[in-house]
């Protein structure tokens, strides 16, 4: 599904990712762990098409190079990023935002756009699954949401937009235990044979709930070790310092 | 008035020995002033303070000629105590003392035999007046890489010999690269109903720092206008603090051009006014290069029938991306006939900027007074505490702690 070859990314002449390689097959769950500043968010930003980086290398999504695609075109193809720091957009109603996004994506995929009633039905269902307080969806997007609520809102959006590749950038940080479980359930329910996940996290705990197929350790812009779930445990014990 | 002006101007030329070039420039400026006269309400800049009217109301028989031949006595008692400093002393518009005891002599240069420069504020009639009538004007140069060890205090003293005169002063200050200067301008007026017109030009070169504190604290019946033109090169900093309190009328106008990248300007001021005083602060901060920053905080407390005006403009050129501009003015009106007028203005031609302004005026917060009274203070004490806190907020912005304490002392003496 996703093949990253020799990815190199600089920002303001500072090298952030270097010789980065990763392959995610349909249905797989990959976790990336790495110290602060190692380039995890940079990776997810680049996958989502954020501008401002000097990039070279290759990113293939479903065997097509996506370098030339705009952010929204990648979203239309099914790439979803749950941001580490979800933004506040004043004045924009969360429900309306969600409906607009969903219909933009459906339209791009050649599916029928949902009308207000169908949409609300869908949202109600998903919100209930994720135990997300529906009333909050009538507020301005992320404005006045608590840190955890913002993260949950990202997962709600994920489950409504139903992407093929979901990138979760530290979605677990700031969540309480119950919320963590709910988020994990959300992910697990989307886990199908052709949906893949890239989960960025600092904590082994999340991986107890979402069993990854692979764990990668990212340091100074490249993957220095890959392995199975046991790698996360090892990391938790040793810390990054002694890991090398 | 025009007759008087002409007579006084000729007398000035007769009794002084200006260079031919200067006489020519002075004549031109004089003509320009005659044509425009004192500014009035019809000019946007003077909308809230009609100087023409203020002068004719307050000063009878204004005359423009000053006999500067005889030295004046300096009343030493008014020198600032407990702060070692260099001095420039003007008495009744005449320079009486230049003293840089604390500094390395070859790092400072003072020029006084200068050709007047053409001012680029073509519309400011008070600058015409200044250029026409200024006697000697001074230029202070702080050499590259030199920081003055002690502050410089410019004393502007007038005594009771001076009545109904127009005094014009001009000082240019140039800070060469990597230099710094702390400048305190200190007014002391015992004179009656004069019009004092001061023009400063600052040239702050790369990486240099100017800190300028202007203190007008002694109650007096003079009418004043002070215009500072500041040019700033990259990485330079200017910090200005205004204590606007003593004169019957004073308008402090500051035009600051942030010409170089990362230049920043801070303008903070307080009005403490009573009786019939009418003060104005007008600023123009022009962001002309990338990454420049300006910050302005002006507060006022008005009693009796006093009036304060703040006109502050932030201009951002289309080149000046990443500008950060902030401006806030607040006033507390304590009496029925006080008045606070504000015109906080933004003019912006670049899109990647952060600019905001705010203005608020009104009464003391009754809830806060109530809170303090519930803790045992009486009304007057509560009021005083709140006002002090309100003003202290501005004084705290002063970055030099010695001068900050000096100003705190001066202000609490007044309260």
């Amino acid at each position: 599904m996703l093949k990253i070859k020799n990815l190199k990314a600089d920002i303001e002449n500072k090298s952030i990712l270097n010789n980065f390689n990763l392959e995610i097959k349909p249905g797989e769950v990959h976790a990336i762990m790495g110290p602060n500043g190692s380039g995890k968010s940079t990776l997810s930003n680049i996958l989502s098409g954020k501008k401002g980086y000097d990039v070279s290398g290759e990113i293939l999504f479903e065997n097509k190079n996506i370098f030339e695609l705009e952010t929204e075109e990648r979203a239309h193809k099914g790439i979803f990023l749950a941001f580490q720091y979800p933004l506040e957009i004043p004045g924009v109603n969360t429900n309306i935002f969600l409906k607009t996004s969903l219909n933009a994506i459906r339209k791009a995929r050649g599916e029928k756009e949902l009308d207000a009633i169908e949409f609300l039905k869908l949202v109600k269902l998903k919100a209930k699954e994720l135990k997300f307080d529906e009333e909050k969806l009538n507020r301005q997007l992320n404005v006045g949401f608590s840190g955890g609520e913002k993260k949950k809102n990202e997962i709600l959006q994920m489950s409504i937009l139903n992407p093929k590749l979901s990138i979760l950038d530290e979605t677990d940080s700031g969540l309480d235990i119950d919320a963590l479980k709910i988020v994990a359930d959300g992910v697990n329910s989307l886990r199908k044979k052709d949906n893949s996940f890239l989960i960025i996290t600092h904590y082994q705990r999340l991986l107890d709930y979402i069993k990854p197929d692979y764990v990668h350790v990212l340091m100074s812009g490249k993957i220095i070790k890959s392995g199975g779930p046991e790698l996360a445990l090892e990391l938790e014990k040793k810390g990054y310092e002694n890991f090398n | 008035m025009e007759e008087q002006l002409k007579i006084d101007f000729e007398k000035l030329l007769e009794t002084s020995n200006f260079s031919k070039k200067n006489v020519e420039i002075k004549r031109k400026n004089f003509e320009n002033f005659i044509e425009k006269g004192f500014p009035n309400r019809r000019e946007e800049n003077w909308k809230f303070s009609d100087l023409n009217q203020i002068i004719s109301k307050n000063i009878k028989n204004l005359s423009f000629y000053n006999d500067l031949s005889k030295p004046n006595k300096i009343d030493q008692s008014i020198f600032i105590d407990g702060l070692e400093h260099n001095k420039l002393v003007f008495v009744n518009g005449r320079i009486e003392k230049i003293e840089f005891d604390y500094e390395e002599k070859n790092k400072i240069e003072i020029l006084d035999d200068l050709v007047l420069e053409k001012s680029n504020n073509a519309n400011n009639s008070l600058l015409f007046l200044n250029n026409a009538f200024v006697n000697k004007y001074f230029k202070l140069i702080v050499k590259k890489n030199y920081s003055l060890k002690k502050p410089l205090v410019i004393y502007n003293i007038t005594n009771k010999d001076l009545i109904s005169k127009s005094i014009n002063l001009k000082v240019n200050i140039s800070l060469e690269e990597n230099s710094s200067l702390k400048l305190i301008e200190f007014f002391n007026d015992r004179s009656i109903t004069n019009f004092i017109n001061i023009n400063y030009n600052f040239d702050i070169q790369k990486n240099s720092i100017l800190k300028n504190y202007k203190i007008d604290n002694n109650s007096n019946s003079n009418i004043k206008y002070s215009f500072s033109n500041i040019n700033q090169d990259s990485n330079s900093v200017s910090e200005i603090f205004l204590l606007s309190s003593g004169s019957e009328f004073i308008k402090n106008e500051i035009n600051c051009n942030l010409n170089g990248k990362y230049a920043s300007a801070f303008v903070n001021g307080v009005f403490i006014l009573d009786e019939t005083k009418h003060h104005e602060i007008k600023t123009n901060i022009n962001h002309l290069a990338e990454n420049t920053k300006s910050y302005q905080l002006i507060k006022g407390v008005l009693e009796d029938t006093s009036k304060a005006v703040y006109q502050g403009k932030i201009f951002v050129d289309s080149k000046a991306q990443k500008t950060d501009g902030y401006q806030l003015s607040k006033a507390i009106l304590l009496n029925d006939n006080t008045e606070f007028n504000a015109k906080p203005e933004l003019e912006i031609y670049a899109d990647d900027v952060k600019c905001s302004h705010g203005s608020a005026s009104g009464s003391l917060n009754e809830d806060s007074i109530f809170y303090l009274m519930s803790r045992g203070l009486n009304y007057q004490e509560a009021k005083k505490l709140l006002i002090n806190g309100f003003l202290l907020d501005v004084v705290e912005k002063i970055t030099d702690s010695e001068i900050k304490n000096l100003i705190k002392n001066i202000m609490s003496l007044k309260q």
């Binding site: 791009a108 959006q157 | 009496n335 899109d351 705010g358």
Partner: protein
């Protein structure tokens, strides 16, 4: 030629012209033309005298020039001051008798006038060039005593009310354009809501400039008697022409004790092409007088059209406890210029005002917010809150904020806040990550930015205005 232009500028969908036979006054501004207008409208003598008085005063007035947008000198002798569809010279008794071409025009503009197709719950007065051609739902309004008709009709049928209030808020000699309007005004709407009546439907006037080289000088007068309520909405469009056309309207509102007037404008005059050629000069004087105690006047405007917009809908808060509000969205793109804002003059005790202004400039355009808040020494315990935010798109445009704030009352409080910013890359990226294209993303974020104002509009128009906000900014993202 016209076809081509329309092709290039398909976003201005109101740019068509209607081929219709006109009756026009001779070109130019003089006594005869004013007499012509007065006669065409079958006005009583007092009205003509009033116009003449304004005309006399006009001779001593100069066009103001303190505004930011400068415009080429207007040749006032080169304008037609009166132009009316021939078929409307005898105003038809019923809408069904109306010239089918006119009906078609309004239908195309989305304002069907015929009985079967009328907008629900909205009574419309349709003004075409210099005359009102139709007013809908008149009978229904009559039942509750609401008078809603053209000002020309009001001058004939309700001279008492007109005489009493016309010019009572905007004096005859207020300033150049207001005085010009007083001399040559042609048509506009008149509304009277009797004491205690809550007007059962939205009232609306739709202004259309059609004829070329014609100025539109409309005059609107709304009186809300004690304890009444009315919500009024105006919309405006014009064909695309290479020339600049002048629109100098006067709008006066009077609210008596406990009355409330809500006045909304969606202004979409032709803005000129992308090179700044053509477009309407929209120089409008709008003023409301909160005459009675507890009265309230609320202005909402969405200004997206016109080459130059120059207007300050204002409130004079004369009655104790009266309230004035101003909600504005102004958008300029290409070479458009706007200098707009409000004045809140606090005279009575306990008066309150609120100003929310959102300005968006894009392209090569220039936007100024100019406002005055004046709390007089008698206006004890008054409050003002002002917030004006600007959004810039690109660095070829400008945003200017010029508030004048005067407080002479120690028991009153004024608070003013203003910000200037741009749409952040992060916000755009976030929306795009969720599948929106940049234009949609900008539209969404800008609508969010404007939300507080859009909320003030009556439901039916909020949707329209929201679309307009998006359309006006088309082509400005990049």
């Amino acid at each position: 030629m016209r076809e081509k232009q329309i092709d290039k500028l398909k976003d201005y969908k109101y740019g068509f012209t209607t081929d219709i036979e006109n009756i026009r006054a001779p070109k130019g501004l003089n006594k005869e033309v004013i007499e012509f207008i007065s006669k065409a409208k079958k006005e009583p003598k007092w009205m003509l005298d009033w116009r003449m008085k304004a005309f006399e005063r006009l001779k001593n007035l100069k066009e103001p020039n303190w505004q930011k947008p400068k415009y080429p000198k207007i040749d006032y002798q080169d304008i037609y001051y009166y132009s009316a569809p021939k078929s409307a010279s005898e105003k038809p008794k019923s809408i069904d008798e109306l010239d089918p071409k006119l009906l078609e025009t309004y239908k195309k503009l989305g304002i069907p006038l015929q009985e079967q197709q009328r907008l629900n719950g909205i009574a419309v007065d349709a003004v075409f060039d210099s005359v009102s051609v139709a007013t809908t739902f008149k009978d229904k309004l009559n039942e509750v005593g609401v008078i809603f008709c053209s000002i020309s009709e009001a001058i004939q049928k309700h001279p008492g009310l007109v005489k009493k209030y016309l010019g009572s808020v905007i004096p005859l000699t207020d300033h150049y354009f207001a005085t010009l309007n007083s001399a040559v005004f042609t048509d506009g709407s008149f509304v009277y809501i009797p004491s205690g009546v809550k007007c059962p439907m939205e009232l609306s006037t739709y202004f259309r400039i059609n004829a070329s080289q014609t100025g539109q000088f409309e005059r609107t007068l709304i009186i809300a008697d004690k304890g009444s309520y009315v919500s009024y909405l105006e919309g405006c469009t014009a064909p695309m022409r290479d020339e600049n056309q002048l629109h100098a309207a006067n709008v006066e509102l009077v609210a008596l004790d406990n009355a409330e007037i809500k006045y909304s404008t969606v202004q979409n005059w032709y803005p000129g092409d992308e090179n700044g050629k053509g477009g309407i000069y929209n120089f409008v004087t709008k003023r409301g007088l909160c005459k009675g105690t507890n009265s309230k006047i609320s202005w909402t405007q969405v200004e997206t059209g016109s080459a130059i917009t120059w207007k300050y809908p204002s409130c004079i808060l004369q009655g104790d406890n009266s309230i004035g509000e101003f909600y504005s969205i102004a958008i300029t793109n290409n070479h458009q210029k706007a200098d707009t804002g409000t004045k809140m003059i606090h005279l009575g005790k306990n008066t309150k005002s609120k100003i929310i202004s959102k300005g968006i400039s894009a392209g090569f355009s220039d936007m100024t917010y100019r406002g005055l808040v004046d709390i007089s020494s008698k206006a004890k315990n008054s409050r003002n809150y002002t917030q004006c935010d600007s959004l810039l798109m690109g660095n070829k445009c400008g945003a200017h904020t010029v508030p004048y704030i005067k407080n002479k009352n120690p028991e009153s409080n004024i608070a003013h806040e203003a910000t200037t910013s741009k749409i952040s890359e992060e916000q755009l990226h976030y929306c795009q990550q969720r599948g929106l294209n940049p234009e949609e993303a900008v539209g969404l974020i800008v609508n969010g930015f404007c939300k507080e104002v859009l909320q003030q509009l009556p439901m039916e128009f909020a949707v329209e205005a929201q679309k307009l906000v998006g359309i006006s900014l088309e082509g400005s993202v990049g």
